[in-house]
Structure formats: structure tokens, C-alpha cells
């Protein structure tokens, strides 16, 4: 495994972790809204 490959993998990895965090955040927010909390945020 060349160091270059790690660098190449880093960009999509960071993008994916960002997307994963965002989807999780939306999921939690929707769960709250479905439970009747945070109605103002809709």
C-alpha cells in the first residue's frame, strides 16, 4: 500500500463521513419530529 493510495482514498472518505454524519443528523431530527417534538423546526 503506497502512501499515495491513502491520500487518494482520503478525499472520498472525508466526503462520505460528512454525508453519513448529515444523514444521521436528519434521521434523528425526523425521529424527534415524528415523536411530536421540535414541531417548529419543520
Amino acid at each position: 500500500m503506497e502512501p499515495k493510495m491513502f491520500t487518494l482514498a482520503l478525499a472520498p472518505l472525508i466526503v462520505w463521513l460528512g454525508i453519513f454524519w448529515y444523514l444521521n443528523m436528519i434521521d434523528r431530527k425526523l425521529s424527534k419530529l415524528e415523536a411530536g417534538k421540535d414541531r417548529d423546526e419543520l
Binding site: K4, M5, L8, A9, P12, F20, L23, D27, S31, L42
Partner: protein, 251 residues
């Protein structure tokens, strides 16, 4: 039969999320492993004479591992959208209002995600094209096809955005989806095959013809594609839940 108001009491009782946290964690692990496998395990992409593709010793072309699932999911969105459009029209004929709303929202989500994944397929394709063919855009038949496909998906989103009446919006959306699925399937599956000489021929051959060293077949079909499908399911149900909440709020 107004789509927008009558079944909201029933929507309150429906949770569109798939239960459990395990499959979301699995999606996260699957996508992370996909990225790591593509760049750290799978070997360089080779051309027809066995030489690495141009950039980074054949590793630059590995963006096709993300391009192919996006393009495939975009094509599936047409089929999923069309199934829900038929489902909507059948429910409408039977006067089942709850089923109508459910089918209409799922149809809308499928078409929206179709737009998203076709845009992602185009962007990843453009990165590949710049690396390997020297320009972001080459008017290759497949590139032209996906451009028209994007417009077809975008037209659905625009149509849905400008019609205020929920019933008319749902009916027009369903009919549009069924009309758009015909050129969609033609552009995805038929046109690139009847136009013989495309720039996609070589990367397609590399992907299908075992010109990538290492266990790329396991990576593509055992890891990348399932991970993207799980991601698609997650995004689909998130958007559906959001649309249902908006519908409940507007009631």
C-alpha cells in the same frame, strides 16, 4: 379526491422508517470499506493492451467504482418511480385515498433521487473523462444520454414544484413518470448499445472484461453495489418521512 388533506390522519399512524439502527451502521461500514477496498486493495485499471489507464498509474480511473452504482441507481429510479406511478393510478381508480398519497410520495421520492444519482453519475463520469479522455465533456453518446435523462428527472421536479393543487400535482406527476420512463429506458439501455463506437467501450470492457487486477468483481458486486443500495434505501425513507411530516403539517 383531494390527495393533500383527507388521509393525513392515517399518515400520522404510519412510520416509514425501516426499524433498527443496524442497517444504517452497516451502510456506514459498507461505504467506508468500499472506499478503502477500491483504493487500497483493488489494483490499477488496465486498457485493452494491458497498460494502466493514464492517471496515477491506472488508479485515477477507479472513480468508475462510484460512477457505475450511481448510474445504475439512476436507472432503477425510473423503474421504481414508474411502479409507484402505476400504483397511484390504480389506487385512484379504486378511490383508495391513503394508497394514493403513499404512492404519490414514493413516486416523487424516486424521481428526486433519480435526479440526484444521475447528477452524481455525471459528476463522477466527468472526473473520469477529464482524467482519461482529456476533457470533462466529450459529447459521447452515453454522456449525451445522461444529460437528457437529467433533464427528464429535473422536469418532473419542476413540474411538481409549480403545480399547487395536490391532486392535480399527483396525477400529472404519475402520468409524467410513465411518459418519461419510455425515453428514460431507451436512453439508459438501448441508445448506447445501438451506437457502436462510444468512448465508454474501453472502460466498460475494463470493468466487465476483468482488466482490473485484484478482486475487483467482489469489490464491485459484493461491496460497492450493496452499499450504494443501502444508502439509496436510507435516503429514500428519509425523504419519504420528511414529505409525510410536511403533509401532516400542512393539514
Amino acid at each position: 379526491m383531494a390527495v393533500g388533506n383527507a388521509p393525513n390522519s392515517q399518515l400520522n399512524n404510519v412510520n416509514s422508517s425501516i426499524p433498527g439502527l443496524w442497517w444504517k451502521i452497516l451502510t456506514g461500514i459498507g461505504m467506508t470499506l468500499t472506499i478503502l477496498a477500491v483504493y487500497l486493495v483493488v489494483g490499477p485499471v488496465l486498457n485493452k493492451v494491458g497498460q494502466p489507464f493514464y492517471t496515477l498509474g491506472g488508479h485515477g480511473a477507479k472513480v468508475i467504482f462510484f460512477h457505475v452504482p450511481c448510474a445504475w441507481l439512476g436507472s432503477q429510479c425510473y423503474i421504481i418511480g414508474a411502479c409507484y406511478a402505476v400504483s397511484y393510478l390504480r389506487a385512484r381508480a379504486r378511490g383508495e385515498r391513503f394508497a394514493m398519497v403513499e404512492a404519490d410520495l414514493k413516486n416523487a421520492v424516486a424521481m428526486e433521487l433519480g435526479l440526484l444519482f444521475s447528477v452524481l453519475a455525471t459528476i463522477t463520469g466527468m472526473v473520469f473523462a477529464k482524467n482519461e479522455w482529456g476533457a470533462y465533456w466529450n459529447w459521447d453518446p452515453r454522456q449525451t444520454s445522461i444529460l437528457i435523462i437529467m433533464f427528464l428527472f429535473a422536469a418532473y421536479v419542476a413540474l411538481r414544484g409549480i403545480v399547487a393543487d395536490p391532486d392535480l400535482r399527483a396525477r400529472q406527476g404519475a402520468v409524467y413518470t410513465l411518459v418519461a420512463v419510455v425515453p428514460g429506458i431507451f436512453l439508459y439501455f438501448i441508445l448506447p448499445r445501438i451506437v457502436g463506437d462510444t468512448m465508454h467501450a474501453e472502460p466498460n470492457k475494463a470493468l466487465i472484461g476483468r482488466q482490473i487486477s485484484g478482486n475487483y468483481m467482489y469489490t464491485m458486486y459484493g461491496l460497492t453495489l450493496p452499499s450504494f443500495i443501502m444508502l439509496f434505501v436510507w435516503m429514500f425513507q428519509l425523504r419519504l418521512r420528511q414529505m409525510k411530516l410536511e403533509l401532516r403539517k400542512s393539514a
